[in-house]
């Protein structure tokens, strides 16, 4: 059995998105900035994609800026808000400890430029409390940036409430919605969002394409200087086939959101209860306020990379927050942020399900994970110490 359970890393492109992309590569490869018909045809495709993307999230087309992906959108959102803040002498930014590195590393850079950053606690369940956002906002706060859904543990934040607080206090609100767009209902107006980042390959679109929503009136700062594309806010000839394929994938995946959510939630909860039967294991992140596709567990006494390799041998592709999979000595900052200690965080497993997952596959995953965890514990000195009472169980 072959099961791709790493959809938070990337998704398979939909057939419609591939078809859209290929046909544009073949037929409408003109430059949208050219004035002759072939160029103008590409321009039409581009603007149609913009309107489609805008419609899905409740924005206007002129509020959508196409980027090379989520990281670029995050960078530009933060840079722009920081620039606007700086002009008014407001140099305080609020975020959370478990944001994506596209946010955290940009904030580190801004700190070096004189900004002050407050990282909110995400608590044991991986959720931010709106009242803590309200309490953290100061007179000199220029931006609150909180991810919509976490990429590792899938927790969904109270975005609308946080947005409402920011509106009341007249502070810009950005959300990194890379994991959420097309998977949970988003309406930028109703959710009080000023800036939102998204990435096509997380919803069956192509890699290298994404978008930034910026509410009308918010002046964006360029990351890339050059021509006047994207109304002068992002230079470079537009990736028309990729952008159109993104719009196609976004419409398609969003249109199936209700059925996808119903099915995935059922599969997710079955998987969670199956894995919870493993002794000394724990679900990471809140059980209900989470993406319908996300399951993330810690298993005590084992290390995540060996777990992944053995699951791969059984045909299951997943990921882990262990240090060995990150290339650093520290395990995932997300797991540390929700209070998992190093020893336990090394033994984590993330399964992010695809919409086509079947009950039979979930059963197979449960059985495989149980087998592999018990096999690895069988020769783990850590597990031996825990079982003999020499060490203390944490989970």
């Amino acid at each position: 059995m072959k099961i791709y359970a790493d959809n938070a890393a990337t998704t398979k492109m939909s057939e419609n998105a591939i078809h859209t992309m290929v046909s544009l590569l073949e037929d409408s490869w003109g430059n949208p900035s050219s004035l002759y018909a072939h160029g103008q045809l590409a321009k039409e495709v581009l603007e149609k994609a913009r309107a489609d993307v805008a419609a899905v999230i409740g924005a206007s087309p002129d509020e959508i800026l196409f980027t090379s992906g989520g990281s670029e959108a995050d960078n530009q959102a933060l840079r722009s808000a920081a620039e606007l803040g700086k002009k008014k002498g407001k140099m305080h930014i609020i975020s959370s400890a478990f944001e994506h590195h596209a946010i955290l590393h940009t904030l580190e850079r801004l700190k070096k430029e004189g900004f002050e950053v407050t990282l909110l606690d995400v608590h044991e369940n991986g959720l931010i409390l709106p009242e803590e956002v309200a309490a953290a906002i100061r007179d000199d706060t220029c931006l609150v940036t909180i991810m919509y859904a976490n990429n590792e543990i899938g927790t969904i934040q109270p975005i609308r409430e946080i947005g409402r607080i920011c509106r009341e206090k007249n502070v810009l609100f950005h959300t990194d919605a890379v994991q959420a767009v097309a998977h949970v209902p988003i309406n930028v107006k109703e959710d009080n969002i000023d800036l939102l980042s998204a990435s096509a390959h997380k919803f069956h679109g192509p890699k290298g394409v994404g978008f930034l929503y910026a509410k009308k009136g918010i002046k964006l700062t360029n990351l890339i200087e050059g021509g006047a594309q994207e109304r002068g806010r992002r230079a470079g000839t537009e990736n028309v086939p990729g952008i159109a394929a993104m719009a196609e994938a976004l419409k398609e995946t969003s249109s199936r959101m209700d059925e996808n959510t119903a099915h995935l939630t059922k599969m997710r909860d079955k998987l969670i209860s199956g894995l919870a039967e493993i002794p000394h294991s724990a679900l990471n992140g809140d059980a209900t306020h989470r993406l319908p596709s996300n399951v993330n567990f810690c298993f005590e006494g084992i290390e995540g990379e060996s777990l992944l390799l053995l699951l791969d041998d059984k045909g299951i592709q997943a990921s882990s927050g262990s240090a060995c999979t990150s290339g650093s000595l520290d395990p995932s900052h997300v797991l540390l942020a929700i209070g998992r200690v190093h020893d336990v965080a090394h033994g984590s497993l993330r399964l992010s399900l695809g919409e086509d997952i079947t009950e039979e596959q979930v059963d197979y995953i449960i059985k495989s994970v149980k087998d592999v965890v018990s096999y690895l514990r069988g020769f783990s000195p850590v597990w031996r110490d825990l079982m003999s009472g020499k060490g203390q169980f944490i989970l």
Binding site: G301, G304, E305, S306, A323, G327, P381, V382, R384
Partner: protein
């Protein structure tokens, strides 16, 4: 291109000499769970020969493969030879390790050194 060589995957999938020696006369444990790797080596030494060796490892694929290979390299060998086992020899026998995984082979060398030190302490012998 796979992450690991076939040799590493073979030793990871079918680790040699896994387990515990109840009457071991040299035991060494190195690493810590905080960093994600712990290796424990059990030696049974008789007549200055490593008669038996077993290991337990908490760690990534290359940590398990390095432990397994290290036990293979010293089993049946004189203790003086086991003493000279280097991490480089372990990594080479595995057809190489990714650069950021070399510390796994270092850990295997250290685990064996630590077990041999324990043996010397217990027996009062000095390995030449």
């Amino acid at each position: 291109m796979a992450l690991y060589s076939e040799k590493v995957m073979d030793h990871f999938r079918n680790p040699r000499n896994v387990g515990v020696i109840e009457d071991a006369n040299g035991i060494g444990e190195v690493g810590n769970a905080k960093c994600g790797d712990i290796m424990k080596m059990y030696l049974k030494i008789e007549d200055d020969i490593v008669q038996d060796v077993k290991f337990e490892t908490f760690g990534c694929g290359s940590a398990i493969a390095s432990s397994s290979m290290a036990t293979e390299l010293i089993k049946g060998k004189p203790v003086s030879e086991a003493m000279k086992l280097t991490n480089k020899a372990v990594a080479e026998a595995l057809d190489g390790l990714p650069a950021y995984k070399m510390h796994c082979s270092v850990l295997a060398e250290e685990a064996i050194q630590s077990a041999l030190e324990d043996y010397q302490k217990r027996t009062g012998k000095t390995i030449e």
